[in-house]
Each structure stands twice: as C-alpha cells, then as structure tokens.
Amino acid sequence: MVGYSYQVNKRWGKGISGQDFTYDEVDYLNQLQAISQDTRNIYSYYDPESELQSFFGRVNFSLYDKFLVTATMRADGSSKFGSNNNYGYFPSAAVAYRISEEAFMPDVIDDLKIRLGWGQTGNQEFPAGASQAQYSITRDGLTRSQFDNPDLKWETSTTFNVGLDFTILDSRLSGTLEYFNKKTKDLLFYAEAAYPSPSSGKVWTNLDAEVLNTGVELSLNGRIVDTKDFTFDLSANISFLKNELQNFARIVETGALHGQGVSGVTSQRFVEGQPLNVFYLLVFEGLDGEGKSVYQEGKQYVGDPNPNQILGISASLRYKNWDMVANFNGAFGHQVYNNTATSILVASNPTKGRNSSPLYMLPGESPDNPLSGSTRYLENGDFLRLNNLTFGYTFKKAPWFFDNARLSVTGQNLFLITDYTGFDPEVNTNKAVDGVPSFGIDYVPYPNSRTFTFGLNVSF
C-alpha cells in the first residue's frame, strides 16, 4: 500500500469596531465615518500558510502463519521547517510471533502472540513562520520580531514496545501485557534565545534534550458468566507510567499562579531529571504564633502532576432482556495544585466582606497572612470515578410496527471518590507561561457536570 496526502492551513482575519453610533436605522458598518475617532479600532492579520505533504507506504506479510511482519515508511514534508529540513523520514517495523500455532502448545491456549515493535514518528506542532526572520509592521515603524532558524527540524519520537497477547479458556479470558519505551529527541520548544535577541526573547528551536516515557500496560478481559440468559463481562486495564526530562541544560518556569499576591509566581518547572511539569513550590510548615505562614527556605521539587497509574474498569451484565454497563476510570500517584484555594478562598476574605471556606482557613490564621504559592495548596489528585452507568431493556418482540425497540437510562459522572477538596481533580486550567504548557493546576474551573440521559431507540 502506498499513499500521498496534502494539507494546507490558512488563518487570517480583519476586524473593525467602534462605539457611539447615532442612527440605529442604518447598518453600523455603513456609517463608520460618523463615529468618534477615539473609539474606532481596526486590526488585520494573516498568518503564514502552512503546507504538509506526506508520502507513505506499508507492507504486511506472514511466514507459515506464525510470523507476521509489518513495515511502514513515511516521508513528511512541512513548509514550517527551515528550508534545509522540510522532510522527515519515519520508518516503523513490527514482528509478531504467534506461538499458539506451534504444535507443542497445549489446547487450552486459544491464541498466544509475542509482539515486538519499533517505530518513529514526527511532530511539527509550532506556528508557521517560525523558521524565518520576521519584521512586524507597527504603528510607529518596523521592528524585528523574530530570529530566523533555518535549521529547525522535525521532532522525532522513537518507540520500542514488546507485548504479549493471549486468549485462553475457549476465549473466556484474554489479555495483553505490554512494555513501551518512547524517547523523544530534537524537542521542539519555544526556548529562550541567546540574548541579544528580538524582544520576545524566544525562538522555536530543537532542544538538545530528551523526554523519556516508559510504561507497562496490563489489560484483562474476562467473560465470567456465559449462559443463555445471563452474561457477565469484566475488563480492566491499568497502566504504570513514568516520564522524565533528560539532558535538559536549562530551567524553564511555567504554571503561572493567578491572583493578587501571587503575581509572577510560577509553580512548575521543566528541569533536568524531573518529570515534565514537576511542581516547584515553597514547603509550607504551618502557622507561627501570629497566625502567619512559615515556610522552609527556598522552593523545592515537591510533586508530580503526571499520574503514575491510570486505571479503567468496565463491567457489563446482561440478564434476559435487561442489560447494564458500568465504566470506571481513575488515576493515581499525582498531585493537583489548587490555585482557587490560594487566591480566592483566603483568610482575609471575612475582613473584606467576602466568604471563605473552613476547608482553606487554618485555625488561628491571621487575616493578614501573606498569600503564597506553596505546598499548602498542593493536593493529592488520586481519584476513581464512575464515569458511565447504563441500564437498558431491549424488547424481545417490539410492539406495534417497530422492528426493534430499546429503553435505556444513562448516568454520567455519577460519583467520584477522591480526597481532593476542589471541584474535581481531573482539571487542567491553562496556566502556560510564554507558550510553555502547564499541567494539573486548578483555577476556578467550570466543574464537570453530572448528566442523566433517558433513551428510547426504535427501528422500523
């Protein structure tokens, strides 16, 4: 199989606004000359177009039905990169050995397969124009707004994985155990340029650093009861994940906290040898005699917003015409920073005629206690959620002129087990600094809703 794809992205806009129009009878856009000059505002922009064209191909073949081989190759060309490096070449290969085809395997094993895979993928997520020198046109003149970086090239991730798939006991139990190791290099990063540089101080560049993601995933699917009237399936998967930033020669701050008293305070870092977005905060030790916070000297690496384990459980039951499906998901071993508590529900609120919450006021806390980003507001983000629960009834013989009919009720986000004090630990308010993403910060988010859906499905 071979293929070709082409894609072009354009983004442009123009706008005009004004105030104090005199005549509502006439379209405002037709009387712009009559409004006061101070209120007129115009803008226009046209981002560089970006083109992406790809050539790809794949071959599959098998040997004696035991060895399955897949090989792919892609050549991706993007106009966004420097002229020296438009194209990236990304091969992959996978082999599987179906051991169950061997004569020596016992019959109880329906299927057993070992998989080995290796592959590369490319990333080009950055704004078009980043590889060129840019001069912005301003009201007063012209200013160099960006360095050129003709060496900008594809970020490449190399993944190695080894897995074991099995199906046993007349297909009653199946599962997968997989290890993966993904190393990303030539990281595309909006990094500090070597000053002197244009006033953004930043340039899109390939960092000489690596992100290593490793993990083990285990999933099991079992048909526990299987009779004519009653079936019960249970499946569960769990992933153990770890990520680390390596050979990163700089420190990049992100996770800007929001609110009075925490201006310019950041809570997270990208730093060598730590997980991505590691929390870097003052360590809160309690209150002193005056009711003011005491901290250890200096900020410390105190938490990780990336879960160590991700869990999914799905159960489905069918009894005659009745059925039920429940899905749980959960994540464990990570922290969430509660910026809402830092800045909104503070001890000085009662003195300013505002409410606070006993959750976030310590006994004896002074209303003058300075606000700081600290571990006081860093909370355990573990949770288990009943994401989805459905009951249904399917008519064996649909009434009237319907061929099929089914009644169902579904509840989403029905309950959440967590120690997190904010609305929901599954939160990620964007607190990026200069385009460097943040992760796992809660600042006055819109809470997840709980939804009930009643359904009637019929077909004629």
Partner: protein, 499 residues
C-alpha cells in the same frame, strides 16, 4: 526481504516524483522577512528602536534593589512568594523573574540597535543607533558585568560573544566618542543629541574605574574624572539646558521638552505611554484617585534625608491637586481628596501614610504603612495612557556628575559650589562642606526613583551595607546573575561569581 526492497524502491521513486507536488515554500503574509527590508525602512526601524527606550524608563529593578524604595507585603497582597523581599534584601537567585525580565528588556533594546545597523543608514541614523546601542551596553554592564554581543546581521546560530566589564565600558566610550559629532545639537529632548552623548560619556567615565575593578576595591583615576568634567562642561557651555524652577513640573503630564531633559522617553497621551501610569498606580492607595495598587513606598531614613522646604521632598502640581487632592513628592501623613475631605483606608482607618514601612505590614497600618513615592504625577486627562515624558538623562545629573568628579579630583570647593547652586534652586539650605556621604545623599534627593540609585550606591561603596529591612549583603550581589536559560543558550556566557 525481497518484498521490502521492492517496497523501498517503489517508495523512494514515488517520493522523488512527489516532491514536485508542492515545494513547501513559505511566505510571510502580514509581516516582512529580512530580504524585504531595505535602507528605505531604516527610519521605521529607528522609530521602533526609540520605542524600546520606553521600557528602560519604566524599569524598576535598579530602584527596588536600592535604599529608596521598598515593596512591603500587605496581608494577602504583594507577597508574590517573597519576590519583592528578595530584591530589597539582596537574596535573589538566577531565576528571579524581575531580574530576568530586566535583562531581557535591555538586551532586546541592544538587539534592535544591532539589527538596524546591518542596513545602509545616513550618518545621523547610524549615530543615533550606535548611541542607543552604547546606552544599552552601559545598562547591561552596570547590572550584569558582562555584555553578550552580536555583530550586525549575525545569525541566531552564532553564539553571542561576551565583553567583560572592562571591555564593555571601553567600547561604550569609544563608540560614543566616534559618533558624537554626527549627532544633532538642538533637537527635541527625545532625539539623541550631542548633549546626550556627552552625558552618557560622563556616566561612562565616572563609572569606568568601578567597572574595571571587582566593584569592591577601586580608586578613581584623575584622567577619567577630568573626562567626566570636560563632557559635562560641553553640555553646560552649550547653553541649551538649565535647571527647572518647578521641580515636580518636570515630571508632570505637561513636562514636554523640560529644560532639564537631555534625553527622555516621549509619551503621547492616549497613544503611547510606556507604562508610566504604573509609576503612580503602584504607589497609590485603593481609595485615592486614581485607585491604585497600594504598593511601592520609600523608607523612613530616605525621607529623613531631606530637610523641610526642600522642594524635592514635597510639592504640588496644581492640576493634580485640583483633580484629586494629591500632593507631589514623598506622601507622608493624612491624605485628602480634591474636596479636602480626609480619606480612609478600606477598613475605615484614616488614610495616614506612616513613616515606617516594615517589609511585612500588618495590624492597624496594614494598608497605610510607608511613605508613598509620587514623582510622576497622574495625567487626569487620561490616567491609563498619560502624557508624562520620562527622563533618562537629566541636566541636574550632569551638574552632580561634574561636582562628584571635581570632588574625586580633590577640588571640594568647586564641587560644593555646584551642589549649592543646585540646592538653592531646590530651596534647600546651603551646605558648608562636601564629602562622599553628602554627595551620595544629594544625588539621592535629586534623582530618587530615576533608576540611578543602584549605580550610585555601588560607586560610593554602599550597596552591600545594611539599611532598613535589609541586612548587609554578600559581595556577589554587586552583579545580577544570568538565568539558566541564558547560560544554556550561550556557552560563551559564564555565570557571575557566587551564583
């Protein structure tokens, strides 16, 4: 294996053909790339280069690390994880955002000048750009002791080379001396003039011995001080500048072309104000007009260094007083609105600014501690985008630099005469004698909150001393550090000692 080879052969063949589908050229639609900029655009580049100076006028790093400003934490406000305390108490680390921001700002201005100079210019355009480049180098060497440099037209991939303190100040001097005669003599004060070059040369010679040393032990060479004097004399004898009789008019919204401004940032009401409104917002209480952020204050010791009657301590701008009841200068005591009604703080206490300004405020004076600094007064015609121009180089500073150089060359009588001449215009009593301490204090009274205090304290050897709410500091704090991001992106740059 044969299949794979066949596959690869077909694949490569198709890829080779396919490249002609699109050649992936990229055009910038709403901005220019380097090839499109020509000599005809230099005046536009120069206009934006001048605009970069607006951020210099608004910079707070050199004041907050000095003894004339302090930012107290007030309950839930202004803690910012101790960022302000770190500045005042000299406890910053290399990732301090204010210091990183200042370094980025100065080097961005430097870049704008370097970038312009790769194009063909007129002699005056070249001289203006080289002046501004020298000025940025001066600020950077003053703060950081090393100056990363690029040549005009250099590529990002070339690491900037680094001038050490001594090389940088010599370069500033040689540049200014090379271009001074190509600058205009009598222009608007926001255009670089020969007087501006002489004023910056005086600054450079005055500080040269400091920058040539480890900034702890230095002595002032007679030759350098003579150069300070001759450059100041070039300005004085031009007759284009004179002391303002009304000190605070010089910083009010109608201060355009003040007779003391040798170089200023030109702000235009409603169009371009370069953050000068922050000067008053930052210090005013919430219940004043305009409603401020209740931040920056001065220290009691600094306030007490003025005698009563000195117009630089306390004054009035009639339009400001009429609009809001605000005085100009250092605001101490009860505050009033425009009707003469005594103001209160948010808790209902009298809005009485106290002399003491503890670095962590609390109790009854939580909101009212500290004398406020009202040098650039509000422009009530547009408080958010005011018309006040901001002084970068000022005639009174030239006089004081000359006096200091005379004093360092042993001519105390001539130095005293100049200082007393200034003091009489400022309605301050005549001094009987002059010495280093008196000279430093006079510079403080004249130039408070004009971004020179740190430079002065270092040159007078007082920067590491203890002062209110600050213990004596380690010598490493004589220079600011470089962030890890800068060290990582430029291997030619070495971290300053001790960080």
């Amino acid at each position: 294996m044969k299949n794979i080879l066949k596959f690869l052969a077909v694949f490569i063949a198709i890829t080779g053909m396919g490249i002609s589908c699109t050649n992936l050229d990229e055009t910038l639609e709403d901005r220019l790339t380097k090839d499109q900029v020509t000599a005809a655009n230099v005046s536009d580049l120069l206009a934006e280069l001048y605009n970069t100076l607006g951020s210099v006028g608004d910079n707070i790093t050199f004041e907050h690390t000095s003894d004339d400003i302090i930012q107290p934490t007030r309950g839930g406000d202004w803690d910012d994880n101790g960022a302000w305390r770190a500045l005042h108490q000299h406890k910053w680390d290399p990732e301090h955002s204010t210091i990183m921001g200042a370094y980025q700002m100065y080097t961005a201005g430097l870049f704008a000048a370097i970038d312009l100079l790769q194009y063909e210019t007129t002699p005056q355009q070249e001289a203006e750009a080289r002046f501004i480049r020298a000025m940025y180098i001066f600020y950077i060497v003053d703060g950081w002791g090393q100056v990363p440099m690029r040549d005009p037209g250099s590529a990002l991939s070339e690491y900037p080379y680094v001038m050490n303190s001594s090389e940088a100040i010599s370069y500033v001097i040689s540049e200014l001396e090379a271009i001074v005669n190509n600058l205009p003599t009598n222009e608007d004060s926001w255009v670089v003039s020969q007087a501006a070059a002489h004023a910056l040369l005086a600054k450079a010679y005055l500080n040269k011995d400091v920058y040539d040393s480890d900034r702890q032990s230095f002595s002032f060479s007679a030759d350098n001080m003579t150069k300070v004097i001759s450059n100041c004399d070039a300005i004085i004898s031009s007759g284009n500048y004179s002391l303002e009789s009304d000190y605070f008019k010089m910083f009010a919204s109608d201060n355009e072309n003040s007779s003391e401004f040798i170089l200023c940032v030109h702000n235009v009401r409603g169009i371009r104000s370069n953050g000068v409104s922050g000067r008053y917002y930052a210090t005013l209480h919430y219940n004043q007009k305009p409603s401020g952020w209740n931040g920056f204050t001065t220290l009691a010791d600094f306030y007490d260094s003025f005698e009563d009657g000195d117009v630089r301590k306390h004054g009035e701008v009639p339009a400001v007083k009429a609009a809001s009841g605000l005085d100009a200068g250092l605001l101490y005591g009860q505050q009033y609105d425009e009707t003469g009604t005594a103001l209160k703080d948010r808790a209902g206490n009298p809005l009485f600014f106290t002399k003491e300004s503890p670095i962590i405020s609390g109790g009854a004076t939580l909101e009212t501690s500290g004398i406020r600094i009202m040098k650039y007064t509000p422009d009530y015609e547009n408080v958010d985008s005011p018309d006040n121009d901001v002084a970068l180089l000022r005639y009174a500073d030239v006089l004081l630099m000359k006096a200091e150089a005379l004093m360092r060359n042993g001519d105390n009588a001539a130095a005293l005469a100049i200082v007393n001449q200034l003091r009489s215009v400022r309605n301050a009593s005549q001094l009987a004698a002059i010495n280093e301490d008196v000279m430093l204090a006079e510079r403080g009274r004249e130039l408070w909150n004009e971004n020179w205090r740190r430079n002065d304290l270092v040159r007078f050897g007082k920067y590491l001393d203890a002062w209110a709410e600050k213990p004596a500091s380690d010598p490493k704090y004589l220079l600011f550090p470089f962030s890890s991001g800068q060290l990582a992106s430029n291997p030619n740059l070495q971290q300053n000692p001790g960080y």
